[in-house]
């Protein structure tokens, strides 16, 4: 060691700048007034595929696509004659040519440096093939997305037109079926015997039931149209109101104990949550109707991922776990209509609502041992 030199001298040393040039990923190359290459760093070697000792002294056009040579030369002359000493060059037209003839898109900035009566032009340039490909991909993805959004919108419009026409067109013939069956009984009471009357009543009953199914289906499709309006919802309070309503509507069922955990809140759409709770509670109420006394509970807990899970449990008729995945399909029923009435739309409604909130819903149960319905609302605790 011969002592430490002042930092100023380091900055003056050609070695220092050669090393800096060597570590740059970008191509740094300089040409003289005649556009012959006089500097070609390691980055340039990598990008263009030429070694510095092969390319030094060659015309700059060697590194440009053939079509770009003449305009580029004009640009260089204009730049040489102009006031500016540095200029960024971007845009689609900037392209370089590798040793193997392959072209690549580039971004560059050029500068004019006048030293000791000579003028040197230096370009710092990078290959933007990868970036351009990503841009291209993104543009394509975006276009795809827009296409799909348009398709979805069309599908939605068609669906609305469909439900509109269902609500109009399917009900009218039902009204005729039900109406004339009833008029037959009224007008021909003397000539129609009891068996025929029974058949006519069945026709009437079936048309009424079909009208209800159509209404339920339309209600289900209408339910989740439109945007969520999330607010802080008190599920405990909703559940207590719902139970009060059910008790009022069915006062004969006194021996049902309902436990509702206090303070269960969630950020959710309150109208939809009420509908979900009504359906779950109705369900529990209905499937415990064969019990002498029944117990229903609505509680919450935390799953392994720290997500809040709400559970509505009953000790009623239950179901066979083999059919657990069928519970949530529209019009799927695991019990005969004679056994427990209903259209099979309630749990489908619950599932729609939960999915709309980004949550999951699933069920556990066993025949004769009750059922538990669990759901999450897709929000992390504390959010």
């Amino acid at each position: 060691m011969t002592g430490t030199r002042p930092v100023g001298e380091v900055l003056d040393s050609p070695e220092f700048f050669r090393r800096i040039l060597a570590i740059a990923d970008d191509a740094v190359l300089s040409v003289d007034e005649d556009h012959r290459i006089i500097l070609f760093n390691e980055g340039a070697e990598k990008i263009f595929g030429w070694r510095a000792d092969e390319i030094i002294g060659q015309p700059l056009n060697t590194l440009l696509p053939q079509w770009a040579g003449a305009p580029h030369t004009r640009h260089m002359h204009a730049f040489a004659a102009g006031e500016a000493v540095a200029r960024p060059m971007r845009g689609r037209g900037i392209r370089g040519r590798r040793r193997d003839g392959g072209e690549f898109p580039a971004e560059a900035s050029i500068s004019r440096i006048d030293v000791g009566g000579r003028t040197v032009f230096t370009a710092i340039l990078r290959d933007v093939t990868a970036a351009r490909r990503i841009e291209e991909d993104m543009r394509r993805l975006n276009a795809d997305l827009i296409d799909r959004a348009v398709q979805l919108e069309n599908a939605n419009r068609e669906l609305e037109a469909f439900s509109y026409s269902v609500s109009h067109d399917l009900r009218a013939p039902l009204r005729s079926i039900s109406g004339f069956a009833q008029l037959l009984v009224e007008d021909f009471a003397d000539t129609v015997d009891d068996e025929a009357k029974d058949f006519l009543r069945r026709i009437e009953g079936a048309s009424t039931r079909m009208a209800e199914l159509i209404d339920d289906l339309l209600a289900l499709s209408r339910l989740t149209r439109g945007d969520l309006m999330p607010t802080l919802v008190d599920l405990s309070a909703i559940a207590r109101e719902v139970v009060d309503e059910i008790r009022r509507a069915d006062p004969g069922r006194a021996r049902v104990t309902v436990e509702i955990e206090d303070g269960m809140t969630a950020v959710a759409d309150s109208r939809l949550m009420r509908t979900a709770v009504v359906n779950l509670m109705d369900n529990a109420w209905k499937y415990t109707s064969r019990n002498d006394s029944a117990r229903i509970s609505f509680t919450s807990g935390m799953d392994a991922e720290g997500q809040r899970v709400f559970t509505l449990r009953d000790d009623g008729a239950g179901f066979d776990m083999a059919y657990a995945d069928k519970l949530f399909g529209a019009f799927q029923r695991l019990h005969g209509t004679g056994e427990f009435p209903g259209s099979g739309i309630g749990l489908a409604t619950v599932q729609r609502i939960v999915h709309k909130h980004g949550g999951r819903v699933w069920a556990e149960g066993a025949v004769g041992k009750g059922a538990a319905f669990h759901f999450t609302l897709g929000e992390r605790e504390g959010e």
Binding site: S163, Y164, S167, H168, D169, R171, A172, P173, L174, R175, S176, S178, G179, F180, Q182, L183, E204, S207, T208, A211
Partner: protein, 143 residues
């Protein structure tokens, strides 16, 4: 007795409605129009020189040629009929129909029940309310 104008394109519904009116002892004469233009002809005359001002219009929405909504718009536009009670009697309860109906000044909007007993009851109540209980608007022109 002023007539009831029934605007209805479905012959079954027409028969059932007439039946329900008769059953409930509503004896006003009933004029039936089976599409939108026919309804306008009844109300304003084929040459628009003047037609019938009914005691009440029972208006279906889904009609050939001109929809019930368009018929309602014409009813409210005319000085002769702008105060005439109009009851929309239809299959739909789509929000867009409800909105359009009320915005154009329908007096009631009834969705036809599928069950005939309920339908008949709805017609009974409509007749009782609009033809008996409700005081009609003063005559806007000499009859």
């Amino acid at each position: 007795m002023k007539p009831i104008l029934l605007v209805e394109d479905n012959p079954d519904d027409e028969l059932l409605t007439l039946r329900a009116l008769k059953k409930n002892h509503i004896h006003n004469p009933v004029v039936v129009a089976r599409d939108g233009p026919e309804a306008l002809d009844v109300l304003f005359g084929a040459d628009r020189s003047g037609g019938i001002v009914p005691a009440m219009v029972l208006l279906d929405l889904k009609l050939p040629k001109l929809s019930g909504i368009e018929v309602l718009r014409e009813i409210r536009r005319s000085a002769d009929t702008r105060m005439t009670p109009v009851v929309i009697l239809t299959s739909s309860r789509e929000e867009q129909d409800l909105m359009a109906g009320y915005e154009l000044g329908a007096n009631s909007y009834i969705r036809k029940p599928v069950d005939f007993a309920q339908f008949s009851e709805a017609v009974r109540q409509l007749g009782l309310y609009w033809l008996v209980l409700n005081e009609p608007p003063p005559e806007s022109r000499p009859t």
